[in-house]
């Protein structure tokens, strides 16, 4: 592991939910390194999603500093954040968020059309094991397949970081493992820095490093001396 791709210091996030003020982050420090798979583990409401949204340029911290390489994400304008997402970040969500009116290939092409150095949509889909379902619409794909299309879409532009929010949350163990394998394969083949949010402790064994979240803070961090292959994971 070489230099830090992300570095966040003293990050807090407060927002109002109805009448209540919620402290989603209460001061988190984090560094993510080039090429690593980091798993952010914790119960719901522990602040991990909020942190991921801040890193991904979807949301802004209330206080603290956060940098992506030489980009200051704290003080970036809305336009700069869009540009940042467009150039550097790949997202994978729990509910896939595919465009229903586009086929698998076209969902991936959606992103490659606006990137400077993309891979072929076909290649990206082959990478996640869907080379044979290029022309299917989301409604014709299973949940696991849809999620793998989402991963293909996320990596096709060769992003610097891949941010995955509960990528297996809507899937059962057997299908979920296929998705994790796809993520691991991408990481090994392309060396993409990957952050996976999950409340599923089983997944932590595939990570290089694990961050444990609780009550808006990072409670502990540890490095996996020996990573497990995703195929060995089950829950």
């Amino acid at each position: 592991m070489t230099e830090a791709v992300f570095s966040g210091r003293g990050l807090t996030k407060t927002y109002r939910s109805g009448e209540v003020e919620v402290h989603a982050l209460r001061g988190a420090d984090i560094d993510l390194f080039e090429g690593e798979i980091a798993v952010l583990l914790g119960p719901s409401g522990s602040g991990k999603s909020t942190l991921l949204n801040i890193l991904g340029g979807l949301d802004r911290a209330t206080s603290g500093t956060v940098r992506f390489r030489d980009h200051d994400l704290m003080n970036a304008s809305e336009r700069e954040l869009t540009q940042y997402r467009r150039e550097h970040v790949g997202f994978v969500f729990q509910f896939y968020n595919l465009i229903p009116s586009l086929t698998a290939r076209e969902n991936v092409a959606l992103v490659t059309e606006i990137s400077s150095n993309p891979m072929d949509p076909e290649k990206a889909l082959a990478l996640v094991g869907l080379g044979h379902r290029l022309d299917h619409f989301p409604s014709q794909l299973s949940g696991g397949e849809q999620q793998r299309v989402a991963i293909a879409r996320a990596i096709a532009k060769r992003p610097d970081v891949l941010l995955c929010d509960e990528p297996t949350g809507a899937l059962d163990s057997k299908i979920g493992v296929l998705v994790l394998e796809a993520l691991d394969h991408v990481n090994q083949t392309l060396g993409t820095t990957t952050a996976i949010i999950t409340h599923n402790a089983a997944i932590q064994s595939m990570a290089h490093r694990v961050f444990n979240f609780g009550d808006g803070r990072i409670i502990s961090t540890h490095v996996n001396a020996k990573r497990q292959n995703p195929s060995e994971i089950s829950w």
Binding site: S49, R79, R86, F91, S101, N107, L110, D165
Partner: protein
């Protein structure tokens, strides 16, 4: 149960509050339907009801006739005719008026009142003063509009040249007459109250002035209920023939009545076309909005059912929402309709002179308008409401299945590979909901059609003016003699100061018939070479009248069902009833009246007379107009002077005023449709696709790119709507032209390219603005929360 319903009602009001903009957009379209119905039918009912009440109270005559001079004893003979209830003979003459402070000569239409008392037919309605006293030679009752135009009051003095003698008249009464509800001066195209007045004097005064003692030259009849007008007209013609009868005619040919009829016909055409357009759009919008709302509330519907609500209760709940929107629409429609109807009434009082308030706000019409609109709304809501009631709770509580899309072409054909994925998304979305896309397109095209059918009249009227005033009747002024005079009269006129060119005409009333089609018209005799009042063929090229034979306007030819080469039968009324067959040698263009032309000498020959003239068209030297008008005022033989240029100016002024109002109203209505349709479908699209749009934003697409996605769809639908709207507008305009056509005038069906362009442009702007209102929401998309939730 009662409390539970109250909670649901509370939900209803909150839904309404949340959906206020969309509800308002729907309500406005509905309001436009209600308002046009109130205006069209309301004005129609008011006008026709007022007319019939007025006719009844004033004993408006059923048949009219003119003669040169008939002894009063003939009156008894007429009374004996089958079907005649009442007869009133009178003296009717036109004369020039000299009004202080008004440079132009005005034409007065003098009508006799009985030697004492009121007239029994066409009774006058006194506005102020009293009828001229019996035996008075100077007292006169004048028409209200003429009095108002000049500020005349009881006691004012007017000078008139009656049969060559200048008389000073005193205004004794200001009145209205059922014969002149629409008071159009001779030779004019638009009423000009300054230059045309009607004057009633005691019979002895007029008889003395016009040498008609013991005689009359006009008769009015009121018929029994079951009398046949044509038979009475025929018998009356037989009687008056000896006295120079010019042919009797029924109400339908009475000028004021015919204009009112034409107006009623227009209102009727209007109210048959407009409200249905709005009601159809209303039903479609209600369907769209409600279907979307219910699909959003699937889970709530499922829950309500799970806890024991009946399907009917759910249906009633959503029906109430429709009812609320409808109430809003009907309310706005009532207000706007009442206000606009009142405006229309004010406009009418400028042209139609009734003694009573002509706006009748009939409660029945309001009830009908409300019920019809409600019916349209419920038809529109039926499918969505039934769908909600039929949702099974277990299914309703689960999210709906993802929408299924299809590839455009099966197989490997890939014409799409040149399009961006965003464009493909737009196209697939349009195709995925074909009905909605179609209806949206249809709605927009109706807005365009409405504009085409309204804006086209600007071009058509300008064309009509060009043809009528610039190419056909190019004279500055026309004299009409009281009676036809020998041909030398032309020279007398040509010698008047300022007259540059003078051209005679000879008008003879005839009944033209072909088969069982017949029409009473004035045949215009003109010299062969004319340069002022010309005759134009269908290509608008000047026609030299042939040495013999008749030339008919297209409208008259189609009325008589004749073409070039056919022979028609002509019966010259009041000319010893010369009857002859004349060949039709040409068909010409004319948008005003029913025209028949003939060579002036051929006409005289046909009647076995020496050449005569009934009037003269003139070109005037503007520098000498004061001298000309001063001279005209003392000319004994002139009974009427029409000033074509003044008439044109008046016509254009009136038309411009009306057209501007009309365009404003129609633009407003078209905008309401466009906005209602586009705003609602954009809002719904946005709601349905918020998640998709947010995903795109997350993937790094800019706000501009994402909004473009939304706007592109409407741009495409609008583009598709444009040709459809043009075609529909063309058809609508054609229907209106047919509906407006009368014996008095026809609107040429001229469609300018600019009409198409403006209609499309106005609607495009309305669409763009409505879409931009929704586009603002793209900026406020909450990326995080949209992605965190399932659909």
């Amino acid at each position: 149960m009662v409390t539970a319903m109250r909670v649901l009602d509370r939900k209803l009001f909150r839904d309404m509050k949340r959906l206020w903009a969309q509800s308002l957009a729907v309500a406005l379209v509905m309001a436009a339907g209600v308002a046009t119905m109130l205006i069209g039918l309301g004005a129609y009912n008011s006008l026709s009801e007022t007319r019939s009440v007025y006719y009844d109270r004033a004993q408006f005559a059923d048949v009219f006739a003119f003669a040169v001079r008939a002894p009063k004893s003939v009156s008894a003979e007429i009374r004996q005719l089958n079907g005649v209830a009442q007869v009133e003979t009178r003296i009717v003459k036109a004369a020039l008026l000299d009004i202080k402070g008004f440079e132009l000569p005005a034409t007065g239409y003098f009508i006799s009142l009985p030697a004492s008392g009121e007239n029994t037919l066409n009774k006058l309605h006194l506005r102020s003063g009293r009828l001229p006293s019996p035996g008075s030679l100077q007292e006169v009752a004048i028409s209200e509009s003429f009095a108002q135009a000049h500020g005349f009051q009881i006691g004012s003095k007017i000078y008139a040249v009656l049969n060559g003698a200048k008389r000073r008249l005193t205004v004794a009464a200001i009145v209205l007459s059922p014969e002149f509800i629409y008071a159009l001066g001779p030779g004019d195209m638009m009423p000009d109250d300054r230059r045309f007045g009607i004057m009633w004097m005691r019979e002895p005064a007029l008889a003395g002035a016009f040498d008609l003692e013991g005689a009359f030259n006009s008769v009015a009849l009121r018929l029994l209920k079951n009398a046949i007008v044509e038979d009475v007209v025929q018998s009356l013609d037989d009687i008056l023939e000896r006295y120079g009868g010019e042919g009797a005619y029924g109400r339908e040919d009475q000028l004021s009545h015919a204009f009112l009829d034409a107006e009623l016909q227009q209102l009727n055409a209007m109210s048959r076309i407009l409200p249905p357009v709005f009601l159809v759009v209303t039903a479609f919008l209600i369907n769209m909005v409600l279907a979307r709302l219910i699909s959003l509330e699937r889970e709530q519907v499922g829950l309500l059912k799970a806890i024991g609500y009946l399907p009917t209760e759910i249906a009633v709940h959503y029906a109430k929402l429709v009812l609320l929107i409808s109430c809003m629409g009907v309310g706005i429609g009532f207000a706007a309709g009442t206000w606009l109807s009142h405006g229309l009434t004010v406009l009418y009082t400028k042209f139609f002179h009734f003694p009573y308030q002509i706006f009748i706000a009939s409660p029945r019409l309001y009830v009908v308008a409300a019920l019809v609109s409600l019916a349209a709304a419920f038809v529109g809501s039926m499918r969505a409401v039934a769908g909600a009631a039929a949702l099974s709770p277990a299914i309703a509580m689960q999210p709906p299945a993802p929408p299924t899309y299809k590839r455009f072409w099966s197989g490997r054909m890939q014409p799409l590979k040149y399009l961006s994925q965003l464009t493909i998304m737009v196209l697939r979305h349009i195709v995925r909901w074909p009905l909605r896309s179609l209806l949206t397109t249809f709605g927009i095209s109706l807005a365009i059609a409405l504009l085409v059918s309204s804006l086209f009249s600007v071009g058509a009227i300008n064309y009509m003016i060009d043809v009528t005033f610039d190419r056909t009747d190019r004279q500055d002024a026309t004299f009409a003699f009281g009676e036809a005079r020998p041909a030398q009269a032309l020279q007398e006129v040509a010698r008047l100061p300022g007259v540059l060119t003078a051209e005679p005409y000879y008008a003879v009333v005839a009944k033209l018939s072909h088969g069982h089609h017949a029409k009473r018209v004035a045949i215009m005799g003109k010299p062969q070479a004319v340069d002022l009042s010309r005759v134009l063929d269908l290509e608008l090229k000047p026609v030299e009248l042939p040495k013999s034979g008749l030339v008919l306007s297209e409208a008259l030819a189609s009325k008589l069902q004749v073409g070039r080469g056919d022979t028609i039968h002509a019966e010259f009324l009041g000319r010893n009833r010369v009857e002859t067959d004349i060949p039709v040698v040409g068909i010409i263009q004319s948008y005003v009246g029913l025209m028949a032309f003939m060579d002036i000498n051929a006409l005289s020959r046909l009647l076995g007379e020496s050449p005569k003239v009934s009037g003269v068209h003139m070109l005037l030297d503007p520098a000498q107009s004061t001298a000309f008008f001063a001279e005209v005022r003392v000319q004994p033989a002139l009974s009427a002077l029409s000033l074509q240029r003044v008439s044109l100016a008046k016509f254009q002024e009136t038309i411009a005023e009306n057209i501007n109002i009309q365009i404003l109203v129609y633009c407003g209505l078209a905008t309401i449709i466009a906005f209602g349709v586009v705003y609602n479908s954009a809002r719904i699209q946005f709601a349905e696709r918020a998640r998709e749009l947010a995903s795109l934003r997350v993937l790094g697409f800019t706000e501009y790119e994402v909004s473009r996605l939304l706007l592109l769809e409407f741009a495409l639908l609008t583009l598709a709507a444009v040709p459809i709207g043009w075609m529909a507008g063309y058809g609508l305009a054609f229907a209106l032209v047919q509906g407006f056509q009368s014996d008095l005038y026809r609107l040429p069906f001229i469609m300018l390219r600019s009409t198409y362009a403006y209609s499309a442009l106005i609607v495009m702007v309305a669409v763009a603005l409505s879409a931009l209102v929704v586009r603002r929401r793209v900026s406020n998309l909450d990326l995080v929360s949209v992605l965190k939730t399932r659909d």
